[in-house]
Amino acid sequence: MHKIVSKQIIGENLKRIEIVAPVICKKAQPGHFVMIAPDDKSARIALAIVEINLSKETITLIFKEDDSSTKKLGSLWIGDSVFALLGPLGRPSEIKEFGNVLCIGYETGVVSLLPICRALHKSSNKVISVLGAKTKRNLCLEPQIHLCSQEAYVMSEDGSIGKRGYISDSLEKIFSEQKIDRIYVAGPFSVIQDVLISVPERKVPKKILINPMTIDGFGICGCDLIKIKDRYASISVEGPELDADQIDFSFLKTKMKNSRK
């Protein structure tokens, strides 16, 4: 059914697989994700759709092998099929010409950022990207991000690659050099929060990308329920891209602690 047609190791415990998905690929857009289960024993997990190939009828997923489902998925061979694949899920990212967009990603957060970065780049935006990681080994997809950015910066906490420091340390300079029209941030909650606090320009629209921690992928399990303004919403239905100015951050913070990962 959903056969794996190519597989690569692209970083430490980081794998890239291309899967045949004729129906999903026709509907998929940047920002969408899928629920995937490698076999009938493994829990289904949410992964961002990174690439779509209409002529081959495939989608590409990139994932870190950090739990039993992703390890199992990473152990499948070319020619194997996955047990379950549901999608495309979530809301696609709104892509148009915004002007100068700042794309910020930390470690594996870059996986969900990459398709959006590429689409923004294609739609004639100037993409300025900042990638961050604790150390060089944890940095994800840097060459791919470089290819779709006019400017790219790398920050590592130990200085092993790029500049030493946190992503937030780089923002002052970027904002002083140009007007930024839109910001995307993907990464763990602490990084998202740190970045948002450090953005010198308050009024810029800010989008955050949050991987939905969900069992079903369409809003039934409630694991990914967050508060947007005064109402509750499921990240898998209304996200993964969310408007930072509308989210109740204190709710999200405890919620992110609540989840498994």
């Binding site: 829990a43 369409f218 039934i220 709710f251």
Partner: protein, 467 residues
């Protein structure tokens, strides 16, 4: 003669596994209970059953020890005998004429239904009639493979339509699959029922979320002339009390899905501790709350149900409540949660509750349950499960702007017609009424299928006229 009760697994064995609790009748018990049936000339039980199953008829077959015939008789009206025989609220028994006689209990119809299925199903050879299938040359899509969708599909296929069920999850069955635990409905019984339904010639497409993988318009473009939305009401509803977002608060939907969809339930004991704590408080009042608590005690946890009304108001059969209590589930009835308490790390450490009592405020006999002053106390817990009624899943509704929605989020349908505000799109089951029980959902599935049949017949006539 006294009503015969089904055999039950001993408590100690139950707590060690997810094995089925109610074991059903032995052969002689079934015959004895069947013989108790007075075979009324105007059977009230049939009137009491929303599906109108020929109850005296199938009981007669059981008396003759013809279990297969009994099952056939039930299936004429109800395609899910093995499931209803286990989970139905059995309104037929409340209607049974024996209730009118003092000291006599009604016939145990539910147990006899289950017996017919358990004994009869292996003998059934189905029955895919390629000639009659799709004799109308029209396609109908059923969205959702819960009890409503399965029932509607089986009726429509027999009426001669080509049926495809689209199911978002990787396995069919809806709540029967991911909501109701193994010890109340063994997966095997559900699999047999679904196998039977697919053997009628129905295709079930799993991993297919309507609204995303395909929209309803796509289905229409694919040639489906009517669409039935049987998507249930499972979206979780947040409890509006302080602390509901804390670490350790989960929805029943999550708890049930994680435990019911886990491949090997025995391994849960080792895997769950880091996910759910040791002392679990379940806030809610129905079978969903009971099911969560009963799973919890099987995973070596303490479970307390917090319920604002009396024990009699718990929306589950008395039998289920008793089983839960035998297994060590604590019930805090007439108790309402006020706040979920947190420790310094934003983790749950308990629930502040208040006692409730009946008060007749204006002396008019309108007794109401209200909080008792100065009665607050804390229930200790490291995990809270919110087991309130679900709401309709908004996904399809969002994708289809013309679909009219009621205030409570359920899909609007034309009364008794099951047609939504969109021509050719029907809805039934949980999605139109969130508080339906199983038998009511089946009944809606059946009625909706009949309305779809009428709609398509009319369409046919109109087309013929125009030729």
């Amino acid at each position: 003669m006294k009503r015969i009760i089904e055999n039950i697994e001993p408590v100690l064995k139950r707590l060690k596994s997810f094995c089925e609790v109610v074991l059903g009748f032995k052969k002689n018990q079934a015959v004895l209970e069947a013989q108790r049936c007075p075979q009324c000339s105007h059977p009230k039980c049939i009137e009491g059953c929303p599906l109108g199953v020929d109850i005296p008829g199938f009981i007669r077959a059981l008396r003759e020890k013809n279990n297969l015939k009994a099952l056939h008789r039930i299936r004429e009206q109800n395609g899910l005998a093995g499931i209803c025989g286990r989970l139905c609220s059995a309104p037929c028994e409340k209607a049974c004429i024996l209730n009118e006689e003092e000291g006599v209990d009604p016939i145990n119809i539910k147990a006899l239904e289950r017996f017919s299925f358990d004994q009869g199903q292996s003998k059934i050879k189905q029955i895919f009639n390629a000639e009659s299938a799709n004799r109308n040359n029209r396609k109908v899509a059923v969205v959702g493979s819960g009890p409503t969708g399965l029932t509607a599909a089986s009726i429509l296929v027999e009426a001669g339509y080509e049926i495809t069920i689209f199911e978002a999850l990787h396995l069919p069955g809806g709540i029967l699959r991911y909501g109701i635990p193994e010890f109340r409905l063994p997966e095997k019984a559900l699999d047999i029922e679904i196998e039977y339904i697919t053997s009628l010639g129905i295709e079930i497409k799993t991993n297919c979320l309507i609204g995303k993988t395909y929209t309803i318009f796509d289905l229409m473009d694919m040639g489906y002339e009517a669409v039935l939305l049987a998507i249930g009401a499972s979206a979780p509803q947040m409890l509006d009390i302080p602390g509901a977002q804390l670490k350790g608060v989960h929805f029943a939907q999550e708890f049930l899905m994680r435990t019911n969809l886990a491949g090997e339930q025995q391994s849960l004991k080792t895997e769950m501790p880091d996910l759910f704590g040791k002392e679990i408080a379940v806030i809610g009042s129905g079978t969903m709350a009971l099911d969560c608590a009963r799973i919890a005690v099987r995973l070596d946890k303490q479970a307390t149900i917090i319920h604002s009304q009396t024990e009699d108001d718990i929306e589950a059969t008395g039998e289920e409540c008793n089983h839960a209590k035998e297994e060590g589930v604590k019930l805090e009835v007439l108790t309402s949660p006020v706040e979920i308490l947190s420790d310094e790390n934003d983790c749950v450490k308990g629930i502040r509750c208040v006692r409730m009592d009946f008060v007749d405020k204006d002396g008019k006999g309108l007794w109401k349950v209200v909080p008792v002053k100065n009665s607050e106390f804390a229930v200790e817990a490291d995990t809270v499960i919110l087991a309130d009624k679900g709401a309709s899943n908004s996904l399809i509704i969002r994708e289809m702007k013309d679909l009219k929605i009621n205030k409570d989020g359920s899909i609007w349908i034309k009364k008794n017609e099951y047609m939504t505000s969109v021509d050719g799109v029907f809805a039934a089951g949980g999605v139109v009424n969130q508080s339906l029980n199983l038998i009511e959902a089946l009944c809606q599935g059946k009625e909706a299928a009949q309305k779809i049949d009428l709609y398509l017949q009319k369409k046919n006539q109109n087309e013929e006229k125009n030729i």
